[in-house]
Structures are given as structure tokens and as C-alpha cells.
């Protein structure tokens, strides 16, 4: 059963039709078939299947602009260890936006908005912020812990 009901899917389709202007690439890293297994911490992936459905729903909301690559870490080389992990980027660029865990609830809204902003290239930040960030010369990682509600 999909996480998104028909009404939400329709809302997403309508938003994407209005707000997407360029292509985006989603990549989903998962370990298939481990959702119902009871495994030691770090080995199972209880939300991988739901994450796959969510990512597919997003891709199907704007199939002409959103591409989705699903990476099964059990058969493909990957340095991603936290599963599921969803990444977002312009096609061909190294992803610098990622969600670890199922992006449901509030986090789903951040995924939708991130897709729209990456597609349009509009970050919506103030000039002052942009000026300060332009001074960065070293890599900076911002990790935000959240919960679904």
C-alpha cells in the first residue's frame, strides 16, 4: 500500500506541473527484501520498501523531469551504509542533498520542496545569506535530525 493517498498524489502532480522547470535526479539506496526480517541493528531495513514506493510516486508525478535510480546495495558497490538513503541532485552532479531513513510526514514536504527548488535552481535565500555562504572555502556538512511528526 502506498504511503500517499490519491489526493496527496494529485496535489504533488499539480505542484510539480507548476513549479518544475528543469530535470532532477533521485537516487534511492536500499536493501530489498529485508523489511520483515529481524536482524541486528544496521543490517535490516524496515522502511526500504516504503521508501521505494514513495520515490516511485514522486517520479511518476513528473516523469518527464524526474529520473529515479534505485541502487540495491547488496548487488551494486556503494559506500552508503544507512538505508534507505534518498539523494537529490541536478542530473550528472554529485548529490549534496540526502535523506537517511524514510522521508515521511514533515520530511516528505521537505523532499517535495527540495525537488522543486533544485529543478528551478531557486534557493530563496536572502542576499546577505548568499554573500556569507559565498565565503566558504572548505566543505561543510549540515546534518539535521528529525522525526516523522
Amino acid at each position: 500500500m502506498s504511503l500517499l493517498n490519491d489526493q496527496v498524489k494529485q496535489q504533488v502532480r499539480e505542484r510539480f506541473s507548476e513549479r518544475l522547470s528543469g530535470p532532477v535526479q533521485l537516487k534511492l539506496y536500499l536493501r530489498p527484501g529485508s523489511g520483515r526480517l529481524i536482524l541486528p541493528s544496521g543490517l535490516g531495513c524496515p522502511t526500504c520498501e516504503e521508501a521505494r514506493e514513495l520515490a516511485q510516486d514522486l517520479q511518476e508525478a513528473a516523469p518527464e523531469l524526474i529520473s529515479l535510480e534505485v541502487i540495491d546495495v547488496t548487488v551494486q558497490d556503494s559506500d552508503v551504509t544507512e538505508l534507505p538513503t534518498l539523494t537529490l541532485a541536478f542530473p550528472g552532479e554529485e548529490p549534496r542533498i540526502r535523506w537517511q531513513g524514510l522521508p515521511a510526514g514533515y520530511e516528505f514536504a521537505t523532499v517535495v520542496d527540495a525537488i522543486e527548488r533544485v529543478s528551478s535552481g531557486e534557493h530563496g535565500l536572502s542576499e546577505a545569506t548568499v554573500g556569507r555562504l559565498a565565503e566558504l572555502t572548505e566543505p561543510l556538512e549540515v546534518m539535521v535530525f528529525a522525526t516523522p511528526t
Binding site: I97, G105, T110, H123, E138, L140, M143, F145, T149
Partner: protein
């Protein structure tokens, strides 16, 4: 979209990771997550709470040791967010 995600569009130096805390208890414990949102910068300094853009950026840059204001982090440390009564698609412009 979270401010962290938006910042990646303004600087190629920035990477943003959103972690669902309950799915990764080991990570949450490692980074001292007791309230959300908890923002961890370069896997070292951290602050809790949803901040408006200017303060969020100052806090992040301060913790990274870059032209920020570290004192703002402490002032906002205790702020918490209750998102439980909101519709997901209505919150996209909210601060982190």
C-alpha cells in the same frame, strides 16, 4: 525545504543530510539527539531548534568556525518545534 537543503543550492561546499532519528538510534545517540530538529555541523557542534534563516546560518557558520556568531547557538538551544498538528505540504516554507 529545509534551510540546510536550500544552502546547498547557494554554495557548492555544503552538503545537507536529513536523518530520521528513530530509524537510526545509534546515529542519534552518537550525536546526542534528545530533541528535534537537532542540527549537527561537521559532525561536531550542534544546536536544537527551528531558527529563522539569519540565525540558522549564523549558528551553522559559527559552529564551523566561519564568520558566524557562536553565541547565537546557545541562546536558541532550548527551542523546540511541535509539528504534530500540521499538514506536511503546508509547511515547506518553515524555517529549519
Amino acid at each position: 525545504m529545509s534551510l540546510a537543503n536550500r544552502m546547498t543550492l547557494a554554495s557548492p561546499q555544503i552538503t545537507a543530510i536529513s536523518v530520521e532519528a528513530t530509524e537510526f538510534p545509534d546515529l542519534a545517540q552518537r550525536f546526542g539527539v534528545q530533541g528535534v530538529p537537532r542540527t549537527v555541523v561537521n559532525r561536531q557542534g550542534a544546536f536544537v531548534g527551528a531558527l529563522p534563516e539569519q540565525q540558522f546560518v549564523s549558528s551553522v557558520l559559527g559552529l564551523a568556525g566561519v564568520n558566524g556568531q557562536p553565541e547565537a547557538v546557545e541562546a536558541e538551544e532550548a527551542r523546540q518545534v511541535d509539528r504534530s498538528n500540521s499538514s506536511p505540504l503546508e509547511e515547506t516554507s518553515q524555517a529549519d
